[in-house]
Amino acid sequence: MRKYFLAPLQVRQLATQPKLAVKPNHQWKSVVGLEVHAQISSTSKLFSGSGTTFGAPLNSAVSFFDASIPGTLPVLNRKCVESGIKTALALGCQVNEVSMFDRKHYFYADLPNGYQITQQRAALANNGKISFPVITPGTKVYYKSVKLLQLQLEQDSGKSLHDDELKRSLVDLNRAGLPLMELVFAPDLETGEEAASLVKELMLILRRLHTCSCKMEEGALRVDANISIHKTGEPLGVRTEVKNIGSVRSISQAISYEINRQIKQVAAGGIITNETRSWDADGRRTVAMRDKEVLQDYRFMPEPNLPPLHVNLKPGSQSTEDLISVAALSEEIPELPEHTRQRLVEHYKLNSETAIILVNEPILLEHFLNITKSLMDVPTKVVTNFLINDLLTYCNKINVDVEDCALSSTDLKDVLKSLHSEEINLQAARQLIELLHNNPKTDINTLIEQHNLQQISDLNTIESYCQQAINNQPTAAQQYRKGKTKALFALAGEVAKLSAQKANMKIVVQCLEKLLKD
């Protein structure tokens, strides 16, 4: 059963290139730490009123402040602070009563001020923790816990666009000043899969909180990984930093590759240098980035234009115009993924693997909850089997994200209802998924009629199919009569074929047994 369950999941997110896989090497320990930059979902930037729409025309969402026009000043966006605090609370952080902003200096064409406003000395929050299930192919699911050292607010930089042909660089400042939360995790991880699982869980949490869209493809969530290897009992090795990881899948791949690379390098007598490497998703390898900065000194300095950020930590307090209450924000935290998993196990009697799959695919969870609410008599196992084995498999087959599948919870409920009432069989149900995906908004009954999907349960019709099947496959019939019960499957298959997959198999089996006994 479990094998069956995990199959689609392996295909979906844990496909690891066999050549990248690290052979169990008990000699080497790998240590992985993550730094995540999550863009805060907000209608305006961290310190200015300009918009944050992704893909807006170049340089159209740039306030005077974002362009560093002299004399302009930052004004802290309250909504971003609230989102930061909510995220910190959901990750079990200690929110600091007073946090401060600092300037981090470096010259870059897309950094208009010549410094980034960040939180270096006193961050918004510290000392959190994230616990998450780690799913590795061929291994039992286990839980891992990683410390969140710091959560800080900071502004994003702009983007440089290089035109190699015309030999010029262009700057787009739409991204300059977008609000970011930087989450610095302790190096408590060991493998790429663990890292990918951490990020997956973090994304689930941030999406529940609506504090980040987590769209990695838009750069709304960026992951940098610090990786080192060492021998058991020896001090930690020199670490490399891998940047430019564009998807959850790449996290696992990039880290596995880098661990492997380091081990090979050292095994071949080489040394690891402290460097920044970039993940090349096409070549499936990490490559050293040209080191433009020789030992950067960021010359941190307090940001003098922003007073210290005070929050109210008193239990039971309310937010005021001047002061955000942490207690009041904690009331707004929704149910978090791990809590949902526990609820699925306790209330719906699902096994924990199923609960993990549902929670990790929020749309499946939504379907599950909607369907079970209105189809009380259908066992939850039937529903989860259908969602995971049939819907998810179909989506994987046609390479569509289950989020983008056209079927609504109502569609799925109707299919399950017909399936449960034996109006249609499982084959027809699977066909309906495809039909509904390709013809959204079509009535399910119309589709059943149009495509003649009703299950055949009429005893006489079935008996005649069965007789024909026995006639067509006399050898199978003979084997069955001799006691080889498995031969019945061949006959049932024949009936299925004869009936164009529409015969009610439960009745077919009964009928075949009866006919063959006679």
Binding site: S68, I69, P70, G71, G114, R299, F300, M301, P304
Partner: protein, 508 residues
């Protein structure tokens, strides 16, 4: 002719309301005067079209009886480090020589909405780094009190807001806006014989003021009288959502008691002994003593106090100044705006050349020093330590204003603003910018370190015929008492800025 020059702002606007005189005529005269007094180099740029437009609008409002404020129709000037939409704002530097800001600084926006008439932008030291208004790409500003304006024989106007001080002292405008980071308003006010107010940090918005040291910068006000200063302060002060460091409490307009109602018996004046420093001229010391005596005879309690960390202040100020300068100047890279060098072989080359060409020696020196002081290995030893001493300096003030018993406290501190009357340009220019500032800012920068308000008022003329001024400081947000005492002194000493014969000679 030009009798309106002698009027205070209140009388001027009363004359507008009476119809005795029109804002248009006053603006015309002011623009004429600005041209005639060009030799002072107070303005880096006149805005005649804007001024005449604003004056006409104001005249119209007076006719309709719908004036915007007590300042409607009053000609003003603004230092060239305040953003004025559509009007070049250069900080007197090559870096911003062609920079036309797209927005108004809050201070100017409020003055504009109040109906004032902007005559132009005034001269300054590059990016306000200086105490003489001698380091400007437009050349130095000369002190209107100079006996001899030829060659190097003239007196400096002080700085860095020397242009604004000169414009007011020469009677071209009734009020001018400057900035004050370590004394940049009070110092030229002192040398030019006008009132120069540095308000409490956070009382007046810095939005649109191109920063020197964000944690000390405040817009400053130049006028010829305390009463005029109050009018301007009441117009520009108060919270601004665009500047998070403004004091959020609503601003209560200042209302000074009538002169005859001022009672000094409840006022305690402190004379900080540390301001009796090396280099203080005899004339200045006499002036200081004279006014202290005057206050005492007027009923005030006058007592010596101590601000023990004063001597350290100028060093701390220098460190913090250079660090913030290094940071604030980082934006000038020639990419978005400002001077861009032609060498664009690489981004690094472009930065290096743009900055090398755009900044003068003083700015570059401060950038280099500031970046050095901010290096990880130096931060604690310089910047962090300077912040700690800054707190001690602020505590010195808090102690004399707040802590201790009533007998030990004082309400107002009386000190010199500058150590002497205005130096000759040739003497001043012989020193390095660093040494100039160390002397010039000695008495003024502690108020910036503590964020407290301070005002410079002219008292009398020196033997050389130059203004000698004193500084008053009070506790945070105590501008009302500060200016009340200042106006009492003003009335007692009867200094008339326009008694300066040069003001009239130059016009004829």
């Amino acid at each position: 002719m030009r009798r309106h020059l002698q009027l205070g702002i209140k009388q001027l606007t009363a004359s507008y309301a009476d119809g005795h005189i029109s804002p248009r005529l006053v603006a015309d005269t002011a623009l004429d005067d600005a041209v005639k007094l060009k030799t002072l180099n107070a303005f880096v740029r006149l805005t005649p079209e804007l001024a005449l437009h604003q004056a006409n609008e104001s005249a119209h409002r007076y006719k309709e009886g719908q004036i915007h404020s007590n300042l409607d129709g009053v000609p003003i000037a603004i230092k060239d480090n305040f953003s004025t939409a559509g009007v070049l704002t250069t900080c007197a530097s090559r870096m911003l020589e062609d920079f036309v800001p797209p927005y108004d600084a809050t201070v100017y926006a409020r003055l504009r909405e109040a109906g004032t008439v902007l005559l132009g932008k005034t001269n300054m030291d590059q990016f306000a780094m200086g105490a003489g208004t001698v380091d400007s790409i437009y050349g130095p500003t000369k002190n209107v009190w100079s006996d001899d304006l030829s060659k190097d024989n003239w007196r400096i106007a002080g700085g860095s807001s020397g242009g604004s001080a000169s414009a007011v002292a020469a009677g071209i405008c009734y009020a001018a806006i400057g900035s004050d980071t370590g004394g940049s308003t009070r110092n030229p006010a002192s040398y030019c014989g006008v009132v120069g107010l540095k308000p409490t940090y956070g009382l007046v918005s810095r939005y649109g003021l191109i920063p020197l040291v964000n944690s000390m910068d405040v817009p400053g006000i130049f006028t010829r009288s305390i009463a005029d200063c109050v009018e301007v302060l009441n117009t520009v002060a108060g919270p601004d959502v665009k500047d998070s460091t403004t004091i959020r409490r609503p601003f209560k307009r200042l209302q000074l008691p009538k002169l005859e109602e001022i009672d000094l018996r409840s006022v305690r004046i402190g004379i900080p002994k540390e301001y009796h420093c090396e280099g203080l001229s005899t004339e200045m010391l006499e002036t200081w003593t004279k006014v202290a005596d005057l206050l005492e005879s007027g009923g005030a309690t006058v007592r010596q106090v101590s601000l023990p960390n004063t001597a350290a202040s100028i060093f701390v100020y220098t460190i913090l100044n250079q660090c913030e300068v290094a940071s604030n100047m980082a934006r000038y890279d020639g990419i978005e705006y400002g001077h861009r060098a032609t060498d664009d072989r690489s981004t690094e080359q472009l930065y290096a050349h743009s900055r090398a060409e755009g900044f003068n020696h003083v700015v570059k020196t401060r950038i280099l020093t500031g970046n050095f002081l901010l290096l990880r290995k130096n931060y604690d030893h310089y910047f962090e330590k300077a912040l700690r001493v800054r707190r001690l300096i602020a505590q010195d003030f808090a102690k004399v204003f707040e802590a201790g018993s009533v007998e030990e406290n004082v309400d107002i501190l009386l000190t010199p603003t500058t150590l002497s009357d205005a130096p000759l340009y040739k003497d001043f220019a012989a020193q390095s910018n660093r040494d100039q500032c160390a002397v010039q800012d000695f008495c003024t920068q502690p108020a910036n370190m503590a964020g407290i308000p301070a005002v410079s008022i002219p008292v009398r003329l020196s033997k050389a015929g130059l203004p000698l001024s004193l500084q008053l400081m009070s506790n945070t947000l105590n501008e009302e008492l500060l200016l009340t005492v200042a106006s009492w002194i003003e009335n007692q000493v009867g200094f008339d800025c326009l008694q300066n014969k040069h003001v009239y000679e130059a016009r004829s």
